[in-house]
Structures are given as structure tokens and as C-alpha cells.
Symmetry: D2
Subunit: 337 residues, 4 copies
């Protein structure tokens, strides 16, 4: 960290400031100038906050963090891209995966029909919600353990690996058959949950919060990795902005930025990002072109009867059509499953 000292500060005051931080184990460097003076702080400054130091020390005018506050997920200390393999399905370099399935698991018939169909169309991972965080207590909350059992049946039937959302670590005992644990947007800063899944060894799909910056997204991944779990896939799913025609605003720039700042795979969820069925195809095309490692797309065997988010779900025929285009584009980009 670098700090600028106010004019007219005495040598004594500067020395007291340096002493304070040297006692805490930092080294300080002093850069005197004609009109202004700077002090640098060397060491692990992750636990310090610039604004705090500026506000609590009268002699300091302003400050800036020189290094980024995350380190385990930082490309600076880990220059190569990392791939994550889930039941032979590879997320990362040279691969492009499409996760698909219904917002909620509703019945055996539904999930089996969807799983068979999306597999045939080319999806490589099956999604389906069993524990649903809904903003109204009166909305359908998911089938819970029963939903997980139905997902297991669909996995047995099709061989597709499973991803589903966990909202509480107490659910872990039911997750034996689940291959990727999803942490939803509203839990991106549920730090208790992040710590707990950091102790799992299953891969984590971490969705960006509706109002979180990319730096906060990286810090949440850092929480998981600090617990020992290095298998993290980022999922950009739109942020809340002043635009109201779409449910959220897909931040497509987040993909190249996350890839520059970290070494982990990044996918896009065009269904939740837009909330509009007819935008899923164009946003999926943009996702491949911008360099994402995959997509998560909601499908349903009967969207008009879906118990949640039907407005953004593709039906199985629409998904089949989209996958034909996606495969053509994967080939163009030199990517395979």
C-alpha cells in the first residue's frame, strides 16, 4: 500500500506512523518530495483496509492498494489456465460444455424425459433444482431430498453428471450423487456456506451475485479456495442495473476480465441473465465468441407448466435447435466437449 502524507506534517508524526506499522510486522519505505511525500507499506496487507487507515490517521491524505486482495485465485501467482474435470467432462482450455435441465425437478417423468432429450441434443451435464431460494415464501420451494433422488435416477438412466444448488451445508449428506455443487447468486457472499464448501472436494460452480463486482466475485472464490477446494467454476449470470426489460444485465465483459485476473474456467447462464426465452440463443452465441468455457441453459419438457421460471426455459425442441448451432460454433472456435 502507498499513502500520501499531508503537507506540513512533522518528522515526528511520520516516525510514529511508521513505528505503528513496523510493530505490526510491515516494512515501510519513505519517499520524500518537494510538494508531497509518500510512504509505502510492504508485507501481506490483505487484512488491512486503505480507507480505514486514511480515516484513522490525520497525517494521511490518501492511499492506494498496490496489490490485489486475493492471492490463491490470482493469475499472477498461477499463470497457467486450469481445467476442472468432472466425471470425464472437462471445463477449461479447448473445451466447451453445455449444462442443461429444468429450473426445478418436479417429477420422475419430467426429469427423465428432459435428461434423455438434452443428452441426445448434446448437453454434457444435467442441472435441476431441488432446494430453490425463492423471494416469496409462497412460491414453490423445490422437492428437497426427493428432488435429489429423482436427479440420481436421471443420472443412472443417462450417465450425465449432475449439478444442483446447495443452500445449506446440512444438505451435504444428500449430495453423494451430485457431481458439482452450485452456490447461487444470493449466496455468493454467504461466507459461512463458502467456508463450508471449501472443505468439500466436489467442484463448485460459483454464481455471481446480482450486485457484486468482479473483485468481490474473486474474493468469494478465494474464500472457497482458502478452505482447500481448488475446483471452482465461475458463472456469470447478469447483474442488476437500471435496465428493466431484461431481468438482469449480462455482463459479457466479465468473461475476459475473469480470465485475465484468474486461471479458472468461466461459464455463462443466459437464461437467468435475461429472463427471456428469445434472448437465450443470441446470448449463447455471444458467450462462445467471447471465450466462455460453457453455458448453463434452462430447459423444460413443458415450459408453460413449469413450477418456476418457465418464461426463460427453452422447450426440448428449441434446445435441440440451439445445440445444432452451438456445435457449429464450437467447431469454428476450435473447441470440443
Amino acid at each position: 500500500m502507498m499513502f500520501i502524507i499531508n503537507q506540513g506534517v512533522s518528522d515526528m508524526q511520520v516516525q510514529l506512523f511508521r513505528d505503528e506499522f513496523e510493530e505490526m510486522g510491515y516494512r515501510t519505505i519513505f519517499c520524500p518530495g518537494a510538494d508531497m511525500t509518500a510512504i509505502g507499506l510492504i508485507g501481506n496487507t490483505n487484512a488491512l483496509e486503505v480507507s480505514h487507515i486514511v480515516e484513522t490517521h490525520e497525517i494521511i491524505r490518501s492511499g492506494t492498494r498496490v496489490s490485489e486482495p486475493y492471492k490463491l485465485v490470482n493469475r499472477l501467482f498461477h499463470p497457467n489456465n486450469e481445467s476442472i474435470t468432472v466425471n470425464k467432462v472437462v471445463f477449461g482450455e479447448g473445451h466447451f460444455q453445455v449444462i442443461s435441465g429444468p429450473c426445478s425437478v418436479e417429477s420422475e417423468e419430467q426429469i427423465i424425459e428432459v435428461a434423455r432429450s438434452i443428452k441426445k441434443s448434446g448437453a454434457t451435464v444435467l442441472r435441476g433444482g431441488a432446494y430453490k431460494p425463492r423471494s416469496s415464501p409462497y412460491s414453490f420451494q423445490g422437492l428437497h431430498e426427493e428432488g435429489l433422488k429423482l436427479l440420481s435416477l436421471a443420472k443412472k438412466e443417462t450417465g450425465l453428471p449432475l449439478i444442483t444448488e446447495m443452500t445449506n451445508i446440512n444438505q451435504l449428506k444428500y449430495f453423494d450423487d451430485v457431481d458439482i455443487i452450485q452456490i447461487g447468486a444470493r449466496n455468493m457472499q454467504n461466507f459461512d456456506l463458502l467456508k463450508e464448501v471449501g472443505h468439500c472436494r466436489k467442484p463448485i460452480l460459483l454464481k455471481r451475485g446480482l450486485y457484486n463486482t468482479i473483485d468481490e466475485f474473486l474474493m468469494s472464490a478465494e474464500y472457497i479456495m482458502a478452505g482447500g477446494n481448488e475446483n471452482i467454476i465461475f458463472c456469470e449470470r447478469g447483474i442488476r442495473t437500471i435496465e428493466t426489460l431484461t431481468r438482469n444485465t449480462l455482463d459479457i465483459s466479465a468473461i475476459p476480465l475473469l480470465k485475465r485476473k484468474s486461471f479458472l474456467p468461466v461459464i455463462i447462464d443466459p437464461s437467468h441473465a435475461s429472463g427471456i426465452r428469445s434472448l437465450v440463443a443470441p446470448l449463447s452465441r455471444a458467450a462462445i465468441a467471447v471465450g466462455a468455457d460453457g453455458l448453463m441453459i434452462e430447459t423444460h419438457n413443458n415450459p408453460s407448466k413449469a413450477l418456476c421460471d418457465g418464461a426463460q426455459s427453452l422447450d426440448l425442441i428449441q434446445f435441440e435447435e440451439l445445440m445444432k448451432d452451438i456445435k457449429r460454433r464450437m467447431e469454428f472456435e476450435g473447441k470440443s466437449n
Copy 2:
């Protein structure tokens, strides 16, 4: 709910639409017109989503929700203001309470000194964080159970009721001495936690999420109340906007709006809303004038050494000064402790 039907739709299609919802138990009304036609849906539509129905029925052009999706917290069904009493401290009609204390409990000496001083200055509830949700895993996370024990000592010493944040229902067993459970901004849509504290009988202070609308804030209170806990205090603490000089933007309009839409007490946290010590006093003055039922203000015996959020904490003398002004204003507004 009201829906507008596209032009050129056949009577048969309209009948099918009406049948679908009448089978679900709703009554429908049909309003034919020259250039457009409307259908109304009567019954408990809380579980329905307008956008879903519009997108999944081709004959429908647009729709609108006539009634608000929350009912237990809705003033419409509960016209009188409700007060909440905590250890003889009353939140609501005619009262104004100031909650104060440090961001984090750090030591016995600290919390006792702060508690004694703020009580003398006029605070009526003691706050102090034991479980701290921090955006970096490397920041100080609180003293946990040890912090709660220190809070109990301060309560014993001063008689002040206690408020502290709960981040996980497993912490409940340590909360015997706590009088108000705080649900933090990042957990406002942690629906699992909301359901669980809905089964407690302790009052809940619910902080508004950084990116949540007032309607979502009301829905989160509805979650708690649906569990049986009717003692909820709203806390406006700023939302994230494009302004970056302040940590968040205090949404002062939320106070009269929450009071119009619900019957529950509402307080303001000017410390987290601004993140800047010198704004705490002017925002506190605005809070009383706009009609809030209280304040939550961070104080510390030595802000420059605070382990978190020192930049926004008042020292004990500054708090004493502020309280003199607040008392004068309470008298002007006809409010008492």
C-alpha cells in the same frame, strides 16, 4: 391479476385460458372491449408470476399484479402501527431508540468501557459483532462464542439489552442472553436463515440488502413472519449505487415508504450507509426528522485501533456530543426513549 388479450384471439382460446386457471381454483372475469379485451384472475395469486403467465400464453399481451405479494406484513390487512418491546425498550410509535457499540467485540475491557459510556450518553441498546461476515477470508472474522460471553458481561454490568448478528442458525444455542437477533444485509435473501429465525421468538432486526428493493425487503420480512415470529424491526443501511464517495447510498425515502406499506418499526444505520465518520451526525439528524424509530450507530473506545470499520466509528466523546443533539431533536419531535 389482470391480463390484456391480443387482438384476433378466438373465443375458444380465451375459454381454454379461463379453464386452465379455474381448474387451479381461481375465478376469472372477462371484460370484452372494442379494441382490446381483458381477463381478471381472482383468488390468492401470491404463488403466480405475471411475467411467467405472459410468456407462456401466446394469447396474452401483457399483465399486471393488482395486489401486493406480501400479506402478513402488509398495512392493508393490519392498519395500526405495531410497537416492539425488548426488555422494556420500546421500538415504535412515540419512541426513538439509539443502538450503539463497536462493529466487533474485541476484548472485555473494550466492550465494558464502550457499554458504560454509551449508556451514560443515552443509548438504550448495546450492539457488538461476534460473527462477522467479511468480504475477505483474511480479515478479522470476530471472536465468535467468546464475543457473545463478553457481550453478556457488558449486559450484566450495564443492564443494556443486546443485539448481535447471527449468520448461521447453529449459533442460536449461544444466543440466550441476546435480546435482538440481527440479520445482516448480505443475508437478507438467505431464505434458509430467514425461515429458521421465523421459528424463534426473539425480535429480529432485518437489515436491507445492498442491492434489494423495498418490495424484496418486505418479502424477506414476510418469510420471517410466515414462520410465526412477528417481532421484526426494519433497518435501512444504504444501497449500492453509482456514487462511490460514500460506501453505500442511504435511501432515506425508504423510511416513509416502509411505514406506508407495513406497520413495523424502521430504524436507520448511518454508519454503514455512509462509511464516513463525519456523515454520521447529519444523517442521524435526517433520520429523526424523516420519521425513523431509531438509529444504529457504531462507536469504539479507540477507532484508530478498531479491528474492523474504524473509519465509520465515532469515538465515545463524539457519540456523547451527538446524543446531546439527538435528545434535543427527540424532544422537538415529541419522542422519548
Copy 3:
């Protein structure tokens, strides 16, 4: 427009409401129901505001606009896509154009060198700022008329049509050689200027405001078209959100949405959207894939010496490289210049 009437309203009150609007020339339809009642308003409601009517009539509980407030730019009344031809360069169906050049025209040498180079690389329109809206009065404000003369020289030299920003209608007399008038983001709701360029016959490139919704964007185009100028190209250039790593957040979903709601061409400006040079290429790839009709990309012969926005400008070699990729992708998408 549809309005829902409060319960317990008398027939007399309803009649007065209907009379008020029928006197204004609207027809009303009345839809009585058991628990609620609706009134529809038929006619040109563009000049009415729903919220105004609700707030000013006690008998009304809520209202909704059935039709969109723009009509000239609305696809509903103009189902076919429209192309715009500028000096033989076609924007729209089956075409993809790349506009390029420096943020500011700085010297004859600079603009001629850039124009020659980008033409060789494949750009089809030359951009260059002469009147620069800058947030600081102390920043370089452009060369004004002198800049326009230099642009004319570059056009004469290369044959490339010109686009440049107009900030004031008084500049029109210098715009003889300019082929497309750009209305900048900060002027998207400068309604005086919109009306004035509505009386020109030159094509208008209308940039989206930093904080404007897509509906407002369409209304600003409606302003221009209401003046008689039907040659409008939309340009999405990012909106301001909570993300601060990028200068703005490119709203990629705006492209399919604008194409669904209107019939006009839409291009993307990845340079201003991100403010970061290394994001220009990935965002350009996303733009073609999502269905945009073109790109506007900042280039400079010496970005490190650029008088404005150098950080986002490509140098001429980087642009040449990017254009090779863009041509390959245009072919894949079946588009040509």
C-alpha cells in the same frame, strides 16, 4: 391503458372518471367483476402518464400501459428490417460495417495515416472527434472546425465516408462533408438537439446514454424520426453499473432487444463500453455473434500519445489483426460489407 378500480367505489364516481376521458376524445370500456373492476382507455394514449392518472384519481388503485409509447420506430407498425445506405456503405440486413478512427482528430499527419491504414485493414467508415464533450473543462476539447477540415482531407484521400459527433446544431454549417452525424451518449436526452437533427436528412448514429433504458433509447430515436429523419443507427456503448473494473458495462442483450422492438440497424462500440484495450477484441467477437450490424472501434497511430482515451485505442497493427479475425467471422455469419 387499463386501470383497476378500488373496492367500494360508486357508479357515479366511475361515470365521472369515464366522462373525463371521453371528453378528451378517448373511448372507455368498463369491465365489472365480483371483487374488482377494470376500466380500459382506447385511443392515442402516448401523451398520458399512467402514474399521473393513478395518483390524481382516488378511485383508481393501479394502472398499466398496454401499448408502447413509441410508434414511428416501432416494429409493430413496420415489420421489415430497414437498411441505411451511406455513400454505398450499407448498415443493416446481411451487412456488417466497421467504423474506425481516433477519439480526436489531432493533426493532418495523424488522421491521414490512420485513415489509410484502417481502410487497408478493412474499415468502411472513418470516425474522428472534432467537438469533444469532456467531463473536465481542462481536458482537450477537440480541434473544432479545423478538425472537420482535416477529416475532409482524409475523406478525399481515402474515399471513406465520415462520421463525427455534433454537440450543437450551430455546428451544422461545417458538416457538409460529414456523412453520418453522431449524437453522443451525454446528449441522448438533449431533446433540443434531437429535434434539430430530426430536420436534417443526414443519417444519425444515436449513442445510448450512460444511464438510459432501452425504452428511453427508443423514445430518443422517436424524437428524431418525428422530425422527419428516418435514417437512424443505434449504437450500444455500455451503461453505468456497480462494476468499476470496466468504464461501463456493455449491455449485449440490448442488440436482440432493439432488433425485436424496432427495425433499425444496431452497432456496438466496444472501446467506450469497456475503456480497456484488451477487451476490444473479445467484445467485437461477441458483437458479431449476437447479431449486431457493425462496430465502432477507436484506433490511433500512437495510442500512448493520444490526446484523449488512449487507454482504449488499438494501434494500427492491432486493428489490422483484429480485422482479419472479424472478416473470418463475417464470412461464418454470412455477412459482407
Copy 4:
């Protein structure tokens, strides 16, 4: 400005960097350290952009601006508060003024009735729109010159000084009787207009843009002051956020911040900030308490017939009631007209 240099940079590269800026007239200071090194840039850096320099110089890792980019409006160089006197009405220190009147001037009868009534209730300045920037070309655009004539009549009748919005400098010839020129929110970054009113000598009321930061607000005032006009009053009128119940979100914290950073008067417009009549009174109370120098409140003799923004206008009786409360509060705060 301070810059941090990447590790492993040669002395030669550093020297080239220093030479570049010393040739431009800056002085540089060099602060070597063990693990990192800093360079400071001394001089008038207002025309430089930190991000530009960082992106265009490979040896630089990060940078920060030490001083604020505005100087004429900066309290640092002008420590005392400044008052602005308009026809004996004083904005600033110890005073509190209420500007009131209709959104639009509609007829002689209307403006005279409103002017007489608000004067009697205690308003000290009359507002009324003649040139109305409306987001739809089909909405009422104001009476233009005719409206200004009607305002003059009302001024003659009541003696109240006038404020009205200017959207184009060509209107200046009609502004002889106008005492304060209002620059509307959508024109806050219409830099051409700012420069032009900078050459007037009439006081300017500058409204904050819907999506502009406080720093940008200050820079727009700097534009006006750079032209020689030092009589500027800031008006906070809400910014656009994710909250949709209110038209905008009143940023109440902007008042103490603007007063800390500048020396100019600041008022609040609660009518446009909320767009809801019932919020005008509570927000007005908060405005006085937080330290604003005045209010701008919309009134109408018949809000339900108002040609614009009726939903937020008080009727003349409501305004009279509000003014009684405001006077009581002015006395409490030690402020007078």
C-alpha cells in the same frame, strides 16, 4: 499523481518515463523501495488521466490521483462558505429558502394564483417551466416564450424572483426577467450549455444528473465557474438506482459531502427525487435537518389537471400546511429566509 512501478524495470526505463513528463512541464519525484518503487508527478495534473497513463506505459503497475480535479469550486482553495443573493433572497449560511411553483406554466390564471398563494405560505422564489425537456416527443413541451411572459406577470404581481429552466442558450434573450437560470438534470453534462451559461452573470441552479457522481457534479460546476460565473447553487434531485417504487433515490448524503468539498449553497428537490406527493413532506423535513440551504417543491392549483408531473405536485393547501412545519423547523435550526 503517484505511480507504482512494476518489479524488474530498468533505471533507463524509469528515466524515460520521468523525461516524458518533465518535458511536459511537470516535476517528478522518485521513491525507490525494496520491493516496489513509486514516482510522483508534481504540477497541474488536471488535464491528465490516471488510467490513460497506466495503460499506455508498460512499466507502470497502478496510479492514483492525489489532488481533486476541480479547483475553482474546491473548498481547499476557498475555505469559507459563500452566499448567493438573488433580489435580496440569500442562499447560504443561516438562510433557508423555499422555491415553489408548477412543473409547467400553463396559463396566466394558473401561474398568478399559484404565485400569490405560495408567497402567502412563505415561499421566496417562484419556479415554473417554460421549456420542458420531456422523454416523449408527444408530451407537452411547455409554452416557451409565452410561458416566460406569464412568469414575468406573476413576478410583477407578487415581487417573487423567478427561476426557470434553460435548455438552449438561444433562449437567453427571453430571460431578462428571470433571476436564476436552472440547468436541468439531463443537461448536467451538456458541456456546450455549461460553457455558455458560464458567460452569463445570472445565478445558476445546477441540478444533479440522474446517474452522475458527486465528483462529476462538482466538475460541471467547475465548467460554469471557469467561464467566469461564480454564482452557482447545487440541487440534489435524486439518482437512478435499483429501487423502482420512487422515481429516483434521493441521495441525502450528497448535502454534507458537497458542503465539505465545495463552498457553494446546496438545495434539495424532494418532488422530482421521489415522484410521490406523500413523500414530499418527510423528505423536506430531512432536508432541513441534514443541513440543506433550501428546497424546491412543485405546487399546482389543480394537480389532477396538471399538464406534467401532477403526481408529485402538492396542491396549494398542502403546501401551506407543509410551510407551517418548515418554518417551525427553520426556527429550531436557527435559520431564517
